[in-house]
């Protein structure tokens, strides 16, 4: 069984620097640090767990982005993925989920993946679109906000069961409003967009990282000769600072002064006596 996991390299929210560019637009500064999209760590982990439960599973990880994005493939391989695919874009910049999904579907088409996993959402652009779009392009069923998966187990076998090579379907629970869960069985192949909390992502192991450093990553130029990017239908025009929805009074002074002011406010509002 083959699994493809899509992983994105995103600015770490704790170490991202925003600058105003010449035209006044906000851009991501050079000093920002990047890492794997948090949601995608859970997707990689889920693939690893499926492999541990079933055996005979190969896991490919795929990323789209400029050269430096390759780091995220090494990390996923460090966690245990078998091989990496880099759909390399010449420059950094916003690419719509539609274009990315078309590229991913184009790559995956005909390669016999039983499962394509994505994260529920990218932390930077927060689109939550790529998974369902890949499914649409490939004509596959899709579930998002996936919080549990289980491959059918072989009747009567003990733990460590070896499953038939071709699994017909997968049991999935997806999270809906308020934390309730929709339960379902989905015919394979399928696309699943994985929610955080489905598992506990492991750290890359040193031996896997060493292996990953030696292993070759398949690099494919992502920009199509026909100038596919010109087919973009929606585009991010600019990033701006959000507005305040409440008073947003900032307390000033030393930490103790702030604490005293806060206590005074809480007293005045009769939350404490």
């Amino acid at each position: 069984m083959k699994i493809l996991v899509c992983v994105k390299y995103v600015p770490d929210p704790d170490h991202v620097v925003f600058h105003a560019s010449e035209n006044g637009r906000i851009v991501i500064g050079e000093m920002s640090e990047f890492r794997m999209n948090r949601f995608d760590e859970f997707a990689v982990e889920e693939a690893l767990r499926i492999r541990e439960g079933k055996g005979d599973v190969s896991i490919d990880v795929l990323t789209i982005g400029p050269a430096r994005s390759r780091d995220v493939l090494r990390r996923a391989m460090g966690m245990g993925a078998d091989s990496g695919v880099h759909l390399e874009t010449p420059v950094d910049g916003y690419i719509s989920p539609m274009t990315k999904a078309a590229w991913i579907a184009g790559y995956a088409n005909g390669k016999g993946y039983s499962l394509i996993l994505t994260g529920a959402m990218s932390e930077d652009m927060m689109n939550a679109q790529v998974g369902p779009m890949v499914a649409a392009f490939l004509g596959l069923p899709c579930a998002t906000q996936v919080i549990q998966t289980r491959l059918p187990s072989v009747q009567g076998s003990s733990s460590g069961a070896v499953l038939p090579d071709v699994c017909p379907d997968i049991y999935v629970e997806r999270e809906i409003e308020g934390g309730s869960r929709e339960m379902m069985t989905i015919d394979l192949p399928a696309v699943l967009a994985v929610q955080t909390g489905i598992n506990e992502p492991r750290y890359p192991s040193l031996s896997n990282l060493l292996r990953a450093n030696k292993q070759e990553i398949e690099i494919i130029a992502a920009a199509s000769p026909e100038g596919e990017a010109s087919g973009e239908t929606d585009a991010m025009v600019e990033m701006v600072m959000p507005e305040k929805n409440r008073a947003g009074m900032h307390l000033n002074g030393s930490p103790s002064e702030k604490a005293e002011q806060l206590i005074a406010i809480l007293r005045e509002k009769a939350f404490i006596s």
């Binding site: 929210p13 991202v16 925003f18 989920p97 539609m98 999904a101 932390e123 930077d124 927060m126 689109n127 939550a128 679109q129 998974g131 369902p132 779009m133 499914a135 649409a136 392009f137 069923p141 899709c142 579930a143 906000q145 809906i176 409003e177 308020g178 934390g179 309730s180 929709e182 339960m183 379902m184 069985t185 989905i186 955080t196 239908t233 929606d234 585009a235 991010m236 025009v237 600019e238 990033m239 701006v240 600072m241 959000p242 305040k244 929805n245 409440r246 008073a247 947003g248 009074m249 900032h250 307390l251 930490p255 103790s256 702030k258 604490a259 206590i263 406010i265 809480l266 509002k269 939350f271």
Partner: protein, 343 residues
């Protein structure tokens, strides 16, 4: 702009009830049309939807297309996708609006891909500039907003619930309901029911004061800080963000947000919470919000009445110490030299 602007809204319902985001969508669509010629209609999909369709027509004052499909008892990715395509494809809609809830965020991007449409998700603002409409959405956990523009013939939008609220009062005239029927759609997804979230054992829905922990708490060893802060308030409870629950620092029953509890306490103290829309959706009803975060640009500050830019690891102990000290001073019968100045 004289171009025709036909808008379709896809209703969201569950267990025979119209979800409030459906009415938000109707309000959003009216604003989006902005006086341009064209129609706004609502699509309702399902098996037993007669009443829902009638109710939407009355409440929203919009025409409703009721798409009956035998066997479609609840939302399903395959069936929604197939039915929406059948009823809307090629009909010249400029915009198709779906809610950014667990339903819309799943089928809408797929719908856009199949329609070769534009797709903008999580819309929480819209404005017109020089005849063009721009859509706003959160990026970077709400720290920034992105202004998005679509040049496609059709654009699929998913709209954040709770932002565009319908205006009070029923519209003057109800919309018309038309009916279409389809055979059951056989899909590749086989639903086996819904597992309800466990009841709110932690009592966070009833609490008057909620002290909420975010990832900024740093590690599980710092959780007692949040509990001790909560203890100074009567009728208080400790809650947290999804990340905090994912890490096991709190049980999931204490998660606030779209996939957790919705709370509306008198006081909400957010400790090390970035303020992602999925979290804010669960606490927007709080009367008074205090946020402590070391990042002055945290989105949570935009949702707060009082903002404290500090490190919680040092600030909460300090706050507790000063509070205790003031209490002790107050408790001692005022003797000369023991009087407290100010208050």
């Amino acid at each position: 702009m004289t171009e025709k602007c036909n808008i379709a809204v896809i209703a969201s319902h569950a267990e025979g009830r119209i979800l409030p985001e459906t009415m938000d969508l109707a309000a959003f669509a009216k604003r989006l049309q902005n006086g341009r010629p064209g129609t706004v209609e609502v699509l309702v999909l399902g098996e037993d939807i007669e009443q829902i369709a009638e109710e939407i027509a009355i409440q929203a004052g919009l025409d409703v297309r009721a798409v009956f499909c035998s066997g479609l008892a609840a939302y399903s990715f395959d069936a929604y996708l197939a039915l929406i395509l059948k009823t809307l494809a090629g009909k010249g809609f400029s915009y198709i609006c779906a809610p950014q809830n667990s339903q819309g965020q799943e089928y809408a991007p797929a719908l856009a891909a199949l329609l070769k449409a534009g797709c903008i998700s999580g819309v929480n603002g819209l404005f017109f500039e020089g005849g063009t409409v721009f859509f706003q959405k959160d990026v970077f956990g709400g720290k920034l907003k992105a202004n998005m523009d679509s040049c496609a013939e059709t654009t699929v939008l998913t709209v954040q619930p709770g932002i565009f609220r319908p205006e009070g009062g029923s519209p003057v005239s109800p919309g018309r309901v038309t009916r279409e029927e389809y055979e059951s759609v056989s899909g590749k997804i086989h639903p086996s029911g819904i597992q309800k979230a466990p009841a709110d054992a932690a009592g966070i829905v009833e609490a008057k004061v909620i002290v909420a922990a975010g990832r900024g708490i740093g590690n599980v060893e710092n959780m007692p800080l949040v509990h001790r802060l909560a203890e100074i308030f009567p009728k208080s409870a400790v809650a947290g963000t999804r990340i905090v629950c994912d890490r096991g620092w709190l049980p999931y029953s204490r998660q606030v947000g779209v996939t957790g509890a919705t709370v509306a306490p008198a006081l909400y103290i957010a400790c090390g919470i970035s303020g992602a829309s999925q979290h804010v959706a669960g606490m927007r009803g709080a009367k008074f919000v205090v946020s402590i975060n070391k990042d002055p640009q945290a989105a949570m500050f935009n949702e707060s009445d009082v903002c404290v830019v500090e490190d919680i690891e040092t600030f909460i102990p300090l706050l507790l110490e000063i509070f205790r000290h003031q209490q002790n001073v107050n408790a001692v019968p005022s003797a000369p030299g023991n009087e407290k100045s100010g208050g």
